[in-house]
């Protein structure tokens, strides 16, 4: 079961794979959605060469990281912004120098920021108006929807909260796709000149078709630009994919950029585990996303700080659970571990065997509190008791939380 607290105070429980803007634009171009010409550069010289090769009077040099807010974000320790305009090849070189190998801090990266490893040099375009559009699956409607707004280039969450009437939404069937009439309706409500409606129809229909055919979970164009020549262009593109559908998109899996991800999270994903690193001292190993979140709530309720979210899922085997312990212990902040398993599809005997196995192969350097309940619980408890491994057993949630908080000592201020 996936869990990614990645949508700010919101989160998306389903696991998603992220890609860079330039990769999203390659996919959109292939799908027939209008994007501007651009080139990726990994050195300042490459950025200068890209500017010359593109041959337009102005280019945008854009940091490529897996987070938004780049235009307003700044490189740590300088005034360099994540997106800047270049009028000469030297400009492009200078901006790339200011970004590459530097840490960019935006409202979406958190204070720790993200290191920029490549920039995207993109042709300029004569902008008439900036709009917003996105395709995603709406839980309430039960289908994909195209949403659009005249409030382009702005913080769309704020727009949604303050002026929800500015957010337009059109649901569509995945197989029939967006209707031409829906595209025209949006074009009309967005106030696009009728001369641009044909462009809008093509743009929106192809965007929705790309979302479906690529099994995307989010396709956000902010800003969507009405150019002076009346065409629509995707000036920025954010795209994430449904992890559960990657089995039928082998080519997309190759776009994963592991340099952008937390190493422990990559390791966990490879083992089929859902892991999110946090900053506390109590490692948590739980089955089920809801119980895992609740276990974190409980640890906090009793004055502790969780070091991670870890859902071993329903069908984990001994190897996966052993790997889960290795991942938790690789975090040097961890002072104690809480195992909370309520076995359904997961059997307590599996987790107990894995605990014993892990205590031999991994070696527990910190106290381990174990709470087992559910399928094969008695057999599981017997395995733990017979092993002689140093384990603090707990009965019920409160007992487990109190014991692990005590074992971890006072959280550091």
């Amino acid at each position: 079961m996936g869990y990614l607290p990645r949508l700010g105070s919101q989160f998306s429980r389903e696991a998603v794979m992220k890609i860079h803007e330039f990769q999203a634009k390659d996919l959109l171009r292939t799908a027939g959605v209008p994007v501007l010409a651009g080139r990726v550069a990994r050195t300042p010289d490459e950025a200068a060469a890209a500017f010359t090769a593109l041959g337009t009077p102005v280019c945008a040099v854009k940091a490529q990281i897996h987070a938004g807010g780049r235009g307003k974000g700044k490189v740590r320790g300088s005034e360099q912004r994540g997106v800047e305009l270049a009028k000469t090849a030297d400009d492009a070189r200078r901006i790339a120098e200011g970004l590459l190998a530097k840490t960019l801090v935006t409202i979406q990266t958190g204070p720790e920021g993200q290191v920029v490893r490549q920039v995207f040099v993109e042709s300029g375009c004569a902008i008439d108006r900036e709009l917003y559009c996105a395709v995603l699956v709406d839980r309430r409607v039960g289908s994909p929807v195209l949403i659009a707004s005249t409030a382009g280039g702005m913080d769309i969450e704020e727009v949604a909260a303050k002026t929800p009437e500015l957010i337009l939404s059109e649901p569509f069937d995945p197989d029939r796709g967006l209707g031409g009439w829906q595209a025209r309706l949006l074009a009309s409500k967005l106030g696009l000149p009728t001369a641009s409606w044909r462009h809008a129809e093509t743009f929106f229909k192809k965007l929705c078709a790309a979302f479906v055919s690529l099994d995307a979970s989010l396709l956000e164009i902010n800003p969507l630009v009405l150019a002076k020549d009346g065409t629509l262009v995707a000036l920025d593109a954010k795209m994430t994919f449904d992890d559960n559908a990657l089995f039928r998109h082998k080519d997309l899996a190759a776009l994963r950029d592991e340099a952008e991800e937390e190493p422990a999270e990559i390791r966990a994903a490879a083992a089929g585990l859902s892991y999110v690193k946090l900053n506390g001292t109590i490692g948590c190993l739980v089955n089920g996303a809801g119980l895992a979140m609740s276990t974190m709530d409980l640890v906090k309720h009793h004055g502790g700080e969780p070091a991670n979210f870890l859902d071993v899922g329903g069908g984990a085997d001994v190897n996966q659970v052993t790997e889960a312990f290795r991942i938790i212990l690789s975090d040097t902040n961890v002072k104690a571990i809480l195992v909370n398993i309520f076995g359904g599809i997961m059997r307590c005997t599996t987790i107990a065997t894995a605990l014993v196995e892990a205590s031999k192969t991994v070696g527990f350097t910190v106290p381990l509190v174990v709470r087992l309940e559910g399928t094969e619980v008695e057999e599981g408890k017997k395995i733990l008791a017979a092993s002689g491994a140093k384990i603090i057993t707990a009965d019920g949630l409160t007992d487990a939380a109190k014991k692990v908080v005590a074992a971890a000592g006072k959280p550091e201020a």
């Binding site: 990614l4 607290p5 990645r6 949508l7 700010g8 105070s9 919101q10 989160f11 998306s12 429980r13 389903e14 992220k18 987070a67 938004g68 979406q108 958190g110 996105a134 839980r139 309430r140 039960g142 289908s143 994909p144 769309i156 969450e157 949604a160 909260a161 929800p164 939404s169 995945p174 197989d175 979970s217 989010l218 956000e220 954010k238 449904d242 559960n244 559908a245 089920g288 996303a289 809801g290 119980l291 979140m293 609740s294 276990t295 974190m296 709530d297 409980l298 906090k300 309720h301 969780p306 979210f309 069908g315 309520f342 359904g344 599809i345 309940e373 559910g374 019920g396 949630l397 939380a401």
Partner: protein
């Protein structure tokens, strides 16, 4: 009385010849569920756990009179399995399978909505009416027959809540796992309506989580239509705001989705709030006391 399933429910398992399907078919049989057969394409004529295996759901339904199915088919084929069950006219379709692509479910839901079938899940533990019928993967022994209706988006959190209720001496009428996926067949509101209309359900306990707006909608429904005592827990109250990739989730829910927003909506509907996951059973007891 109960909702959805009872001692007369006749159940087949799609994916019965798989390791997990067979294990849980045996678990349901042991609990006393009237399992009547299974389906695996190409394995018709075999026997698993003493039950006949059929090639198609239509054949299984004709031969056994099954009116419910539990699906353990692997994710790549699970949407097709749901459509097969709906096509065969099985009234209750319970999809346990985890990891079905969202777009597959977007294709399935309109077909289910246009049919007479009800879909529970996917990515859910199933449905149990204690002492009568267990369809799914939940451990049977934690349940007791009684009068509390339980529903949740999370499997293991439901077990936790049920275990607390049982230890406090409150049995359950029916427990429903709605499933953790973005698109599922039944919502809190669908099940609230059933619980409200079930004379044997005297109180309702629900477990939600942060994100989306299902809990807010459920709270509004309770305020307008539910006369029975209700208690709720929201998981993820302390989950830290993470890095952002996009904003679209927040747009759809129009600023809803935070734990605070959900708790406020629930409290406004007169629902008793569980302050911690250890407090879920006690919250239900408080709700009943306050109501009487």
């Amino acid at each position: 009385m109960s909702i959805l399933v009872n001692r007369d429910t006749r159940v087949i398992c799609q994916g019965i010849t798989g390791k997990v399907g067979e294990f849980h078919t045996r678990g349901c049989l042991d609990y006393g569920t009237r399992m009547v057969g299974g389906v695996t394409p190409g394995k018709g004529g075999e026997t698993v756990a003493g039950l006949p295996v059929f090639n198609t759901v239509a054949e299984a339904r004709d031969a056994t009179g099954a009116n419910a199915t539990m699906i353990f088919v692997p994710p790549a084929f699970a949407a097709d399995a749901i459509l097969e069950a709906v096509g065969a006219g099985v009234e209750l379709v319970i999809a346990i399978t985890e990891g079905i692509p969202v777009m597959d479910m977007a294709r399935v839901l309109p077909v289910v909505q246009a049919s007479q079938s009800r879909l529970i899940g996917p990515n859910c533990p199933g449905v149990i009416t204690p002492g009568e019928c267990k369809i799914g993967i939940m451990p049977g022994y934690i349940h007791t027959p009684g009068h509390v209706g339980v529903m949740s988006r999370s499997g293991t959190l439901t077990y936790e809540a049920v275990w607390q209720l049982t230890q406090l001496g409150h049995g359950q009428s029916t427990c429903v796992g709605l499933g953790g996926d973005p698109l599922v067949g039944s919502s809190f509101i669908d099940i609230l309506e059933l619980f409200q209309n079930d004379p044997d359900t005297h109180a309702i306990l629900m477990m939600g989580e942060i994100g989306g707006s299902a809990e807010e909608e459920a709270a509004a429904y309770v305020k307008a239509h539910v006369t029975k005592p209700c208690a709720a827990f929201i998981a993820g109250r302390t989950a830290p705001p993470g890095k952002r990739m996009g904003h679209a989730g927040a747009i759809i829910s129009g600023g809803k989705g935070t734990a605070e927003a959900k708790l406020a909506a629930l409290a406004d509907a007169g629902i008793e709030i569980a302050e911690s996951p250890a407090d879920m059973g006690s919250a239900l007891v408080r709700a009943i006391k306050r109501h009487s």
